[in-house]
């Protein structure tokens, strides 16, 4: 079975991923990309590291994609999340969704990235220009 959620230890190409999603039934394609910014909450970011509990991250990611296909009137969806060290300006996560119509494509794309951020066991470690570094563990 083709996996819809993948962890990528190296930079990946969104054009290829997008091309794999397109077919004659597709009227709407919505995508989201998360990039490593130069700043986060007012601090200058030098780079970051994503660590995952890969076994559970892949299972939970796949569940999110299956739930999206059940909840929304979409044709298909994919998500790839980087792990390992990333520099500023690198792509961290990509979501692509195809549907007959745009409303469902947008809604599912937004839902998937929100669920991935909330549920998939991946942790971000940021290194700042001032030399400090730390894990981000968002509060409740």
């Amino acid at each position: 079975m083709r996996k819809r959620f993948t962890l990528a230890p190296t930079p990946f190409d969104t054009a290829t991923l997008r091309a794999e999603l397109l077919d004659a039934r597709v009227g709407a394609y919505a995508s989201f990309e998360g990039w490593v910014r130069d700043h986060n909450e007012g601090r200058s970011v030098r780079g970051l590291r994503y660590e995952a509990y890969a076994r559970l991250a892949e299972a939970e990611g796949e569940r999110i994609m299956e739930e999206a296909l059940a909840r929304f009137d979409i044709l298909d969806a994919r998500c790839v999340h980087r792990v390992g060290d990333l520099a500023r300006g690198e792509l961290a996560v990509w979501v692509g969704v195809t549907a007959a119509h745009r409303k469902a494509a947008f809604a599912a794309c937004r839902w998937i990235i929100d669920e991935v951020k909330a549920r998939v066991p991946i942790w971000k470690h940021e290194r700042y220009a001032d030399g400090e570094a730390g894990w981000l563990h968002p509060g409740p």
């Binding site: 509990y53 894990w135 968002p138």
Partner: protein
């Protein structure tokens, strides 16, 4: 009579534990008690209320008992995306 388990540490818990994983015999009655025990030992920064637990690659319940040979993962609040 304890059970042998492997515990995985991630992110700030790994930094506190100083290791990715450890295997040992525990007599903790449930996963919550096991976390509290390890928290005391390693000085984990996170209270149990902010952590989730997984066993053998699936989310588990804090009141589940540790099973012989289980891979137990304590998961700090996630920050992917």
């Amino acid at each position: 009579m304890g059970v042998r388990v492997t515990v995985l540490y991630f992110a700030s818990l790994r930094d506190a534990a100083g290791q990715d994983a450890e295997t040992f015999v525990t007599e903790a009655p449930d996963l919550r008690a096991l976390y509290l025990e390890l928290r005391a030992r390693h000085g984990f920064p996170l209270p149990v209320e902010r952590v989730r637990v997984a066993v053998d690659g699936e989310f588990a319940h804090w009141l589940d008992a540790p099973r012989e040979g289980a891979e137990i993962a304590f998961l700090p609040p996630v920050s992917g995306g």
